[in-house]
């Protein structure tokens, strides 16, 4: 279908503006019976990050960062669509308007003016970050092309100090955001924030006007958070729809000028109606519950907010609406899966064989009632084989699927609901609309709920929007748009802190997230590389089987064989050629590897993905949480005019900087005291770095840091009782608290302050050096700026610290501090030091990146984060290696203009989303090919798709890591999507093929290694399996041409394929890599085939032929020793097979009855079988390596091989001795010496292969190498 890109078109509704204006103007009166906490009352006891998973789930998201300037442009035009009832139709225009970076008031003129917007324009509001911008020079080296965007200013500001920088994170988001920290610097209570700022591209938010002085801080985040949310959501939906209708459109969309796009959007919104799907979507979002009063809601849903629904009513509704659960992504019905196994691969050939058998039997039977039932049985056996292997493969796959589903179902969700006036805990699945539910910190919101009351409730909407900022939730209707209003909680989001009561307004698939999920599930899976390889292999083998079969059918017919006999031959040839057990083996092999990988924290959802990872040539890695630890950590300190490096490793064990200075003593005191974060109680035994902290990320970092360095921080705080405090807010950009000194004799009060460094410095008149207070002279200021710039340049968030001892005379012990009137000094402090924080790379990552690089895998960082931070992290983990420079670096170094630098000199580049937007696909290709080290920063989800596609255009196999709902299209688009197990949202995990249970990049490397190994080992398995096909096939050919008594029966062949060979071929999966597979290039998906010509030729024409000869020798030996010399056998077939000949003479003149001959023939089968088996042992051993000598590889390193060999022998013994009496199987007990007849051939095979490998090693690249290395 031709897909309109914009999913929603608002219907013009003339009534709407007034309505919305009215609503906007007077928020719904609060009907709640309980007093809502309005003050700074957020219960802080609620852990901010209660569940690791929940809190983490926003890690590494690709956020939409700032709105492109296009939005601003869009804002200027009359917003026809937008003027409609916006709550009904969430049009992109609405989104743009709501979230838009549009700083220009005119646009508002057309729309309903909400109080928020007014506030936003309030000149007094300190919102404008631009004001700060100019003050400090932008530290970003890459900034050159950017200036025209307002957001650029944001970046600059951001680096400067934390208050400003926040925006960077929120909108920039991204990937790192999760944890993060920065945003949580402010008071955790978001409720206070009523303001609704308009933000430029997410960057600037209008400062919310705090209603309560006590808690002024939180807002900034919220505003920008919302904005981002909106944009994101819009984009998200778009992505899904795009994905549904093909990816071409995405490119267009993204390459197109955003401006155009949005303009078009508005102008064309009326035309967009056609898309049925969108229409539905629109309906989905046609949500006005947030505007209704509680009374209206009660009426609408027939419920009572005190008593809840009655059980009976709930049951009715449950029956009507179905359970409150997402319909799992469309699954192939089990039956279809099963049937697919039955007809996939070689099964078709076997079915053909079986049908031919039955046809042959039918003809025989029609002509002669007493004809033997052999072909009937053979047909049945073939069908049985197909069904058994099918069941087996199905079972294997089901088992691996189960691993996944068990994983996702580990924690059944419960909901606390009020029904029949009682609070009950029921499974969340049983919720129905109208239920009154209570949520508290740590819970997942169990359905879409309209909030009725809340206390300090904040939710993490990141799984929905990718926005990492906790969002306050409260009962007030704050926005027309259901996605923006604060009184709706969305299904599957996590309540981070506080409590709330809400009414369920949507359940299951009708929830917003359910809707997105259902859109995403429409994206079909393509074949994995290994599936393609196996298909290729099946084609080869089937081609060989069918062509040989037909050739010999024709030969047989022209040799005057009966047509029926010829058909039987044909069947024999097919059966001999088809490695019946192989596909099952491959499945087992893959699932063994999957299991092995699961042990190493790579959970593989799709078995075939095991190998895909191995052929990966480009990894587009997320930054936050994958490359980094996903938590803010103190990285550097600056005091005494010196930068100290703090240990950022996972355990912080080694803080080696000089702690003797008096400055440090003061600084550490400030760090410990000026901090509101606390450890959650009850974690005494947990290592410090792992303790759960209540508080935002930066404060947590500081708390843990000081806990590590100073010891018990709580004790220090206890000693230095806090008497007053000004929490952080965006106006002040500092946090201040007043403490008693720990010394009971010292009656001074100590004021400690931390905040944006330049803000702090402004308030200082002295600086502490070596523990001495010195006047803040110019040189000291310069030193400060240098350090600040340097740390900022590392992409770190810098905080300044200062303190002041209040004179005891003016501030006696009983002095009452009033933070509202600020009856104490807030300037002329003593500057103590700087401290910078970063989300540090995981310690395993640099090594892993190096490994990837040596494995020929390009690691590209794609992050939503700020370019400077991204580049700093990229450098520290080696994505940009130590010696490489970007064009900008070179320009800096040479001190020339960027334009004058030869681009070829630069190996690394940092591409921002802004730049990417203006690139044509060709330019992107150029970037991808010309630079070996690439960082994409500030990218949007669509851009991520573009990048993935760009990589795929170059025939790369692309792995993508991601974790948000909004990542799921990219995860699907990638050849292998890798979701983060801890931080990942369910949608991402659903879309991904693999889940990293520990969110650790190093696990990907493990996966790559395993994937490559499995590819090699599959090659070996297939080579092993194919080899015997010739030995199985030759008997038929010789039988037809030379008329020997049949050397091996069809059933016997099946016993090799499905009996003796199965375990050995699986054993090859345990083979260790023969060389360092991480030091070679990833395989080229079109050139390096699983089954290539040398493999087939070598297996069939070399080893296979030897095996056939060896087996024939055994056969001839058996016949000769029983009386039939080889010469006598030629042409004997006809007489031999006649039932009526009971006195057939052998070479000695002895006469044989029919049965005696038959028995001898079976002995021949058994001998041939044993001959093949013995040589397959040699084959198994030689297949352990492809290049190295067996002795280099170690004959006994893979114990499973020996289990395989033992199993081969044991199965053969059982068949021969144990079942030798079962006539139908045509096995006989063989004389012991016949088991050894083929041994010389087995040795020959081994020797020949050793010679082959030796020559390959000696003459790499030679003719021999090319023809003999598979």
């Amino acid at each position: 279908m031709t897909r309109p890109k914009r999913p929603w078109r608002p219907r013009p509704d003339p009534a709407a503006p007034s309505r919305s204006r009215q609503r906007g103007g007077s928020p719904t009166p609060d009907p709640l019976p309980e007093p809502r906490a309005r003050g700074f009352s957020a219960p802080r006891g609620v852990p901010g990050r209660t569940s690791g998973a929940a809190a983490g789930s926003w890690a590494g998201r690709w956020h939409l960062r700032r709105a492109p300037p296009a939005r601003a442009a869009a804002g200027d035009r009359p917003r026809r669509c937008a003027q409609g009832p916006r709550h009904r139709h969430l049009s992109p225009a609405d989104l743009a308007a709501a979230a838009g970076p549009d700083p220009a008031p005119p646009r508002r003129a057309h729309g309903p003016r909400s109080p928020q917007s007014r506030r936003a324009q309030d000149p007094r509001s300190p919102q404008s970050r631009r004001a700060h911008g100019p003050r400090s020079p932008p530290p970003e080296p890459t900034g050159a092309p950017r200036p025209q965007h307002a957001p650029a200013a944001t970046h600059r500001g951001a680096l400067r100090g934390w208050p400003v920088e926040k925006p960077v994170h929120m909108c920039g988001e991204g990937p790192q955001a999760p944890r993060p920290a920065p945003q949580r610097l402010r008071a955790p209570d978001g409720r206070l924030w009523l303001g609704w700022g308009y933000v430029d591209a997410c960057g600037l938010r209008s400062p919310p006007v705090p209603r309560h002085r006590e808690a002024p801080a939180p807002l900034r985040k919220s505003a920008s958070g919302q904005c981002c949310t909106l944009l994101l959501f819009q984009k998200t939906l778009e992505i899904y729809s795009v994905e549904l209708s093909g990816t071409k459109e995405i490119e267009k969309t993204d390459h197109g000028n955003d401006r155009e796009r949005y303009r078009g959007l508005k102008n064309n919104c009326l035309e967009l109606r056609k898309n049925q799907r969108k229409e539905e979507l629109k309906k989905e979002l046609d949500l006005d519950d947030h505007k209704l009063s509680i009374k209206e809601l009660e009426k609408k849903y027939g419920t009572d907010i005190i008593r809840g629904l009655s059980s009976t009513r709930a049951a009715e509704l449950l029956a009507r609406d179905g359970p409150n659960a997402l319909t799992p992504p469309k699954q192939t019905p089990e039956m279809i899966k099963f049937l697919k196994q039955m007809v996939g691969g070689f099964s078709i050939l076997l079915w053909v064989g079986a049908v031919l058998c039955w046809i042959a039997f039918g003809i025989q039977y029609a002509s002669n009632r007493s004809s033997s039932l052999d072909s009937l049985y053979l047909g049945c056996v073939l069908v049985l084989v197909v069904i058994l292997t099918g069941i087996f493969a199905y079972y294997q796959e089901a088992k691996s699927t189960n691993i996944m589903s068990s994983f996702s179902k580990m924690i059944p969700q419960q909901a606390l609901v009020i029904r029949d006036s009682e609070k009950k805990i029921i499974p969340a699945e049983q919720l129905v609309v109208g239920d009154i539910v209570e949520i508290k910190g740590g819970d997942q919101v169990p359905a879409d709920i309209r909030l009725l009351s809340s206390q300090g409730c904040r939710v993490d909407n990141s799984s929905l929007t990718g926005e990492s900022e906790p969002q306050p939730r409260s009962p007030e209707f704050t926005h027309e748009n259901p996605l923006e209003t604060k009184n709706i909680g969305f299904y599957s989001t996590t309540c981070l802190e506080g409590t709330a009561t809400g009414m369920v307004i949507n359940t299951g698939d009708r929830t917003v997230i359910g809707h997105i999920a259902s859109l995403a599930s429409g994206v079909g899976n393509e074949k994995t590389p290994i599936a393609i390889e196996i298909e290729h292999f099946v084609h080869i083998v089937a081609g060989v089987a069918v062509s040989i079969g037909i050739i010999f059918f024709i030969i047989a017919v022209s040799m005057k064989y009966d047509i029926l006999d010829s058909i039987i031959f044909l069947i024999g040839i097919i059966v001999a050629n088809v490695p019946e057990g192989l596909l099952a083996t491959v499945t087992v092999t893959l699932s063994l590897t999957a299991k092995r990988m699961a042990k190493k924290n790579c959970l593989v959802k799709n078995l075939e993905a095991v190998e895909t990872l191995g052929s990966t040539s480009i990894i587009c890695s997320d930054k936050t949480g994958t490359l980094t630890q996903n938590r803010m950590t103190v990285a550097h300190l600056w005091f005494d005019n010196q930068i100290f490096v703090a240990d950022t490793s996972e355990d912080h064990s080694n803080q080696a900087f000089d702690q003797s200075s008096g400055t440090w003593a003061s600084l550490s005191t400030i760090i410990a005291l000026c901090n509101r974060a606390e450890f959650k109680p009850g974690q005494e035994s947990v290592p410090i770095m792992k303790k759960v902290v209540v508080g935002d990320a930066s404060e947590s970092a500081l708390l843990k840091f000081s806990e590590v360095v100073l010891g018990d921080v709580m004790e220090i705080r206890k000693r230095n009782r806090k008497v007053a405090e000004i929490p952080f807010n965006s106006t002040n950009k500092f946090q201040l608290s007043i403490h008693e000194t720990g010394n009971p004799d010292d009656k001074h009060f100590l004021v400690v302050m931390k905040g944006a460094p330049e803000k702090i410095l402004e308030r200082c008149s002295t600086i502490m050096v070596d523990g001495q207070e010195k006047p803040l002279v110019k040189s000291a200021t310069e030193a400060f700026h240098t350090a600040y710039m340097e740390l900022g340049g590392l992409g770190e968030r810098v905080l300044g610290f200062c303190h002041l001892y209040l004179p005891a005379d003016k501030f006696p012990e009983n002095y009452s501090f009033d933070v509202d009137t600020v009856n104490f000094p807030t300037s002329n402090f003593c500057f103590v030091g700087l401290l910078s924080m970063i989300d540090p790379p995981r310690s395993t990552v640099p090594d892993a990146v190096t490994k990837c690089r040596s494995a020929g895998i390009k690691v590209i960082m794609v992050t939503g984060d700020h370019p400077i931070t991204a580049k700093a992290i990229a450098k520290s983990v080696g994505i940009i290696s130590a010696g490489s420079e970007t064009v900008e670096d070179i320009a800096n170094r040479l001190n020339v203009a960027v334009e004058r630098v030869n681009k070829r000199d630069a190996r690394a580049t940092v591409v921002t989303g802004m730049e990417l937007k203006d690139m044509s696909p060709e330019q992107l290709d150029e970037v991808l090919t010309n630079y070996s080290e690439i960082v994409f920063a500030r990218t949007s989800p669509q851009q991520k798709l573009i990048i993935v596609e760009g990589c795929q255009r170059q025939d790369a196999v692309v792995a993508v890591t991601g974790d948000g709902v909004n990542d799921s299209p990219a995860l699907k688009k990638a050849d292998i999507g890798i979701a983060m197990g801890i931080a990942g949202s369910d949608a991402a995990k659903n879309a991904a093929d693999m889940v990293l249970l520990d969110d650790n990049f190093a696990s990907i490397v493990t996966g790559v290694e395993e994937g490559r190994l499995i590819f090699d080992n599959l090659k070996k398995t297939i080579a092993y399996t194919l080899t015997k096909n010739i030995a199985e096939l030759c008997p038929f050919l010789i039988y037809i041409i030379a008329g020997l008594p049949l050397p091996i029966g069809t059933i016997t062949i099946l016993f090799i394929d499905l009996g003796t060979d199965i375990i050995p071929s699986i054993a090859l999966a345990y083979e260790k890599a023969e060389s360092d597979i991480m030091n070679r290039k990833p395989r080229h998906k079109k050139k390096d085939r699983l089954v290539n010509t040398p493999l087939a030729v070598y297996s069939y024409l070399h080893i296979g032929l030897m095996q056939a000869l060896g087996a024939f020798v055994v056969y001839f030996v058996v016949y000769a020793q029983e009386g039939f010399r080889p010469s006598a056998l030629i042409g004997l077939r006809e007489e031999w097979e006649k039932d009526h000949v009971n006195d057939l003479e052998d070479s000695y003149g002895q006469e044989w009855t029919n049965y005696q001959r038959k028995y001898l023939q079976w002995t021949g089968y058994t001998a041939f079988f044993v001959g093949i088996m013995v040589q397959q042992i040699a084959d198994l051993i030689i297949r352990k390596t492809r290049r190295n000598s067996i002795f280099q590889q170690g004959l006994f390193r893979n114990k499973v091989i020996w289990v395989g060999i033992a199993s081969q022998i044991v199965i053969a013994l059982i068949l021969s001795c144990g079942l030798g009496s079962v006539r139908a199987l045509s096995f006989t007990t063989l004389k012991p010496q016949y088991w050894f007849v083929a041994v010389p051939f087995a040795i020959l095979i081994w020797v020949y292969d050793e010679v082959r490998k030796l020559l390959i090693r000696l003459y790499p690249g030679s003719w021999w190498d090319k023809n003999m290395y598979y």
Partner: protein
């Protein structure tokens, strides 16, 4: 998962295939240049010559290890098979049916017998010697001409009434047909310890048929295979050996009724109870004589 396989049009594929067959740029045919083909062919020729050589060597060694006179194993030939002449097979085995009054129904049967006995004419037996001893004819050395061993004569006339010499119709005409029973040769097989192996024919369902037992005239008398025909020393040692025969003339076959006759060989070392092999040590046939 991204699409890794783009669809190619048929035309493209053909073009690719043509390019594969003959690549003018590199002079490659089927992926190799001519000289490469020569090289690889040479390699394969050499490889297969060597392999064939090894195989031939194996067979040569095998033949060298095999005793030309006696097979190494006779596992399947523990007990000799028994065959019947005339041998007409139906769906389940031997089925002989004819009409006494209709020549054409049995003339084929007698012809079969005659043809079979042609090998027992005095002329064809002339290289054998006359044996009279009723004991095993053991021969240690190769005393016969051409480094062979002697074979005992068995001529058709020993079958007397069933030789075809006396009655060219072998008794078929009168409803008392002759059947010739032959025991398969097995090298160095000694059928019994003392007495000669004897043929015994009877109705299969004897006990129930009750009243009448099958009356049989055996030729040679008593239906024995004389012991001097044993042991058989194999084709190479006894090129002129002929199996001894026993003819059974069934005297009282009921008319217009299908009977199953089983002829067993009674000897110490001949077994006739192998459930899988109905021709071991015995031969069963259905007989229906119409009038």
């Amino acid at each position: 998962m991204a699409a890794l396989q783009e669809k190619k049009s048929c035309r493209q594929r053909m073009e690719e295939f043509r390019h594969y067959c003959w690549n003018p740029d590199t002079g490659q045919m089927l992926g190799r240049t001519l000289s490469r083909w020569v090289w690889i062919s040479l390699y394969y020729v050499a490889f297969y010559v060597v392999m064939t050589g090894i195989f031939a060597l194996c067979l040569y060694v095998l033949m060298q290890t095999i005793d030309p006179y006696t097979p190494d194993y006779q596992d399947q030939l523990q007990s000799p098979g028994v065959t019947l002449r005339p041998d007409v097979y139906g769906e389940k085995g031997l089925e002989i049916s004819y009409n006494v009054s209709d020549n054409s129904t049995w003339v084929d049967l007698t012809r079969t017998l005659r043809t079979f006995l042609a090998g027992y004419s005095p002329e064809s037996q002339e290289n054998s010697i006359n044996c009279t001893s009723e004991k095993y004819f053991f021969q240690e050395g190769f005393k016969a001409p051409n480094h062979t061993k002697f074979s005992c004569k068995f001529t058709a006339d020993m079958l007397q009434n069933c030789s075809g010499l006396v009655d060219p119709n072998f008794g078929f005409e009168e409803g008392k047909p002759c059947f010739i029973i032959k025991m398969n040769r097995i090298v160095k097989f000694l059928p019994s310890n003392s007495s000669a192996p004897r043929v015994d024919c009877a109705f299969l369902d004897q006990p129930r048929a009750g009243a009448q037992q099958l009356q049989v005239d055996y030729y040679p008398p008593n239906g024995t295979f004389s012991l001097h025909y044993f042991p058989y020393y194999g084709r190479k040692a006894q090129p002129h050996y002929s199996n001894p025969l026993v003819a059974a003339k069934l005297l009282n076959v009921p008319r217009n009724k299908e009977v199953v006759v089983v002829c067993k060989i009674l000897a110490d070392h001949v077994t006739f109870d192998n459930p899988h092999d109905q021709y071991e040590g015995k031969v069963e046939f259905k007989l229906r004589i119409q009038k």
